[in-house]
């Protein structure tokens, strides 16, 4: 007999329960209704959208648009807990080998066709073929559709983290019509079930969406939450306009040419805050700014040297330059508002003690070898962070050099330890938001962002990682994470600088726009 999964972990509260809690407790309140309908909401987006094929793309710009068009079986709520979206409910068998999803009734695709389990099977099949995170299916035996509204996933072996992975929004398994099963990568026809449907997509210019009148909201909820909940399209149309120039986004918001924008430059904020027609909506914790050391080459193979670097850094100065002041100091790889946050290892964060750094440097036997900071110009925050870090390293007598290339080149170089770099500058964006598990994979094979020396992983680190994955008790998994984070600090496998705030802004008459990892266009309306 299958039982509904009950509070399996702090992160994944039972989904059926969540759904019921939302559906029943505040039952007195009526579901969200657009206070005002109509208008074209023009959103200035910083990065170009290449393709709307969500399973085949992991870029933020794609997600920004696609997640308003497509929906998934299960997703995350405002607090990052898994909730059903296209699924009416789902259950996990006691042996964790079978997941049964009941589909919501009355859901229709933008082409008018009702969604059935056949579409779900086809979407999963396509994802298994080309989805970027198809690795999550490695323990899946098969999936099947016993009837039109039931979808079952059968596992080869239990994987406690499966629901966490499946509900992830980094490259979600969106449900598309069965006919799209064989669409080639990047060529998925843009037909979803979401509140918005595609009108027009001109790469490099804009994407225009319109309200899908046949949308069936999820009545288990009364409000939008995370990517799910009770969603309603209030605008007639939404236009994502690509405006790569930050100054142009500011000007567009000021003139009202754009009603919402992402990533406002800090320098412009003082001025914008004075403008009564504009509301600034900071999106906290956009990513964790990180420098990853290359532990395979000198001098960063030496833990004492890495500790010297760690001791030298002033995180406030680095983050201030990286973000023009829009940041928060942050210990570790989770944010304080997340259930799995821990400050383990905080004694190694933001030491800013040049004397200690010099002492460690002397102990490490550093002889003035060049230390190459590998960064890129595509992400200004990474470039700026590297510039300041180089300055701080020089101040303690380290011969720091910048290597500035473009993003694809730097990614390619960091994959190989022998390409002449010591620190790689990156940001952990989606992963920290998804949880500790998603983030810690950067420190474990085959994904190690740090390079284990001679290909040998740190056994202590691996032990902690295994516990994080396999301990049945959520508390133990959390303790393992804390242990792993402390180890990363202590042995300096990464230098997390702090968390970056992405400032968004809307015109004052835009109501209901709450910052989230992607701009959500549902339940947002013009007040006049």
């Amino acid at each position: 007999m299958e039982k509904a999964i009950l509070a399996r972990s702090g992160l994944a509260a039972t989904v059926a329960c969540v759904a019921m809690a939302f559906g029943t407790v505040p039952a007195l309140a009526a579901p969200f209704k657009c206070p005002r309908v109509g208008g074209d909401f023009v959103f200035g987006q910083e990065a170009n959208v290449n393709s709307l094929d969500q399973p085949a793309s992991n870029t933020i710009s794609t997600r920004n648009v696609a997640m308003n068009i497509f929906e998934t079986l299960i997703t995350r709520d405002e607090n990052n807990n898994p909730i059903p979206d296209l699924a009416d409910s789902y259950t996990e068998s006691p042996d964790r080998l079978t997941y049964t999803f009941k589909l919501r009734n009355g859901v229709k695709f933008h082409n008018g066709k009702p969604m059935t389990s056949a579409d779900v099977v086809a979407s999963f099949d396509r994802y298994a073929r080309l989805g970027l995170e198809r690795g999550m299916f490695k323990n899946v035996d098969k999936w099947e559709a016993p009837d039109a509204s039931t979808f079952i996933i059968r596992m080869k072996e239990a994987q406690p983290t499966f629901i966490e992975l499946l509900s992830s929004f980094s490259v979600p398994v969106v449900i598309v019509p069965a006919e799209q099963k064989d669409d080639a990568p990047m060529q998925l026809k843009t037909i979803g079930t979401g509140p918005w449907q595609l009108v027009d997509f001109v790469p490099g210019s804009h994407v225009k969406l319109k309200r899908y009148d046949g949308y069936t909201p999820n009545t288990h909820f009364e409000e939008r939450t995370g990517f799910g909940g009770y969603k309603q399209a209030c605008f007639d149309t939404v236009t994502f306009r690509i405006v790569t120039e930050p100054g142009a986004r500011v000007a567009g918001l000021k003139t009202g040419e754009l009603q919402g924008v992402e990533d406002l430059p800090t320098k412009a904020l003082d001025d914008l805050k004075k403008d009564k027609n504009i509301a600034i909506v900071p999106l906290l914790n956009w990513w964790i700014q990180v420098a990853a050391p290359n532990t395979s080459v000198a001098p960063t193979d030496n833990v004492l040297f890495r500790k010297a670097v760690q001791a030298a850094l002033d995180m406030d100065e680095i983050m201030d330059a990286a973000t023009d002041g829009n940041y928060r100091l942050n210990v570790g790889f989770q944010y304080p508002n997340q259930p799995s946050y821990t400050d383990a290892g905080k004694e190694f964060y933001n030491i800013k003690d040049p004397a200690k750094a010099k002492q460690l440097l002397a102990q490490s036997g550093y002889k003035g070898e060049p230390v190459v900071l590998l960064t890129n110009k595509d992400y200004a925050s990474m470039y700026n962070a590297a510039l300041v870090m180089a300055e701080q390293l020089k101040a303690v007598g380290i011969k720091a050099e910048l290597k500035v290339v473009d993003w694809p080149t730097s990614v390619n170089m960091q994959l190989k330890p022998d390409t002449g770099w010591n620190f790689f500058f990156t940001g952990y964006g989606t992963q920290p938001a998804l949880g500790a598990l998603a983030t810690m994979q950067f420190f474990t094979p085959p994904n190690a962002n740090y390079k284990p020396k001679d290909g040998k992983d740190d056994p202590d680190l691996m032990a902690a990682w295994n516990d994080m994955n396999s301990k049945p008790d959520a508390k133990d998994r959390q303790a393992a994470f804390a242990r792993m984070q402390a180890l990363i600090y202590e042995r300096v496998y990464a230098l997390p600088f702090g968390s970056l705030t992405k400032v968004q802004g809307v015109r004052a008459n835009v109501q209901g726009f709450k910052p989230f990892r992607i701009p959500r266009m549902s339940n947002v309306w013009f007040s006049n």
Binding site: N58, T59, H206, T244, G247, P408
Partner: protein, 316 residues
């Protein structure tokens, strides 16, 4: 005439072949590949490897090359890796934007360049001449991205008259097109206005000194008729060549302008494709663009021959 054009077209084939070889080799030599773009900010190495395998990027260089040329021989320019569009489709979507912008810039160029050049020549060594030539000198000396930035600061940010960027197609909304294209077209045209003004002036001066102009004047023909019918008509021949060069320059210049003003044209498409390592898009798109430019050159030469009978007779 037709024979000459045909021969020129045939001569273009080896050139385009070399272009495609250079492009193919160059793209594969650029470090980094499209996987890091598809993978986004924090793709894991395992994901990157998987994307590379999906795209066939782990195949040997010569196999990839063989595949590309085989497809090309069948008239297939391939598909963009990132856009989910085939190369021809993407080009056909973007080329009209660049052409509309270039046409606008060309109109500005010809109107201002030709007029100021002719006036300067007619009023040689007067204040008008000096002013016109100073302006022309300014035109060829101001970097177009600098002028673009200055215009954005002034007209878009400070005054709010024009949008800071973006593009509206003429067919969708002519007024919107004018509003979005005017600043880019001016910044694109300025250099060419300067060039054309200078060349028109010197050509006109040369023509005005010719005997037949003196004769025409001596016959008592009104100055206007002499200038328009005789001088300008003859000056047009070298000017046509210059206009041909200008068209190529405009398309080349659109790379920067389109990037600055977020205009979805060919220049932006190709620059992005290079930066994103979208191999098929760069290979196919550049081949089409260069073919187009070669075509323009041939067309210009044909015009030249039509305008100047001597060329026609001389051509073998």
């Amino acid at each position: 005439m037709a024979g000459v054009i045909l021969r020129r077209l045939a001569g273009a084939v080896p050139v385009l072949l070399i272009v495609s070889l250079i492009t193919f080799g160059m793209m594969r030599l650029i470090p980094g590949d499209p996987s890091s773009v598809i993978g986004g900010l924090s793709a894991t190495p395992a994901q990157l490897a998987q994307i590379r395998a999906d795209l066939g990027l782990d195949e040997p260089f010569f196999l990839q090359m063989l595949k590309w040329y085989t497809a090309l021989a069948h008239g297939d320019l391939g598909r963009s890796i990132l856009l989910g569009q085939d190369v021809v489709g993407a080009t056909l979507q973007r080329l009209p934007v660049t052409l509309a912008l270039s046409a606008y810039a060309l109109v500005i160029t010809v109107v201002f360049g030709l007029c100021s050049g002719v006036f300067a020549a007619l009023r040689q060594n007067t204040v008008i001449d000096q002013l016109a030539m100073m302006f022309a000198m300014l035109g060829i000396s101001v970097p177009n991205f600098f002028l673009g930035l200055l215009m954005i600061i002034l007209f878009a940010v400070r005054l709010g008259w024009l949008p800071t960027g973006g593009y509206i197609a003429f067919t969708d909304d002519p007024v919107g097109w004018l509003r979005t294209s005017t600043m880019p077209a001016i910044s694109l045209a300025l250099l060419q206005v300067g060039l054309l003004a200078r060349i028109t002036r010197s050509t006109m001066l040369e023509v005005l000194r010719q005997d037949y102009i003196r004769t025409a004047r001596a016959k008592g023909l009104p100055r206007r008729v002499v200038v328009m019918k005789h001088a300008l008509a003859n000056a047009l021949i070298p000017i046509t060549t210059v206009v041909g060069i200008i068209v190529s320059l405009l398309i080349s210049g659109s790379v920067v302008t389109e990037t600055l003003f977020s205009i979805p044209g060919m220049g932006q498409l190709l620059t992005q494709a290079v930066l994103n390592r979208d191999y098929p898009m760069v290979q196919g798109g550049l081949l089409l663009t260069t073919a187009f430019l070669v075509m323009i050159n041939i067309a210009v030469d044909a015009c030249y021959a039509l305008l100047d009978p001597r060329v026609r007779y001389e051509s073998p």
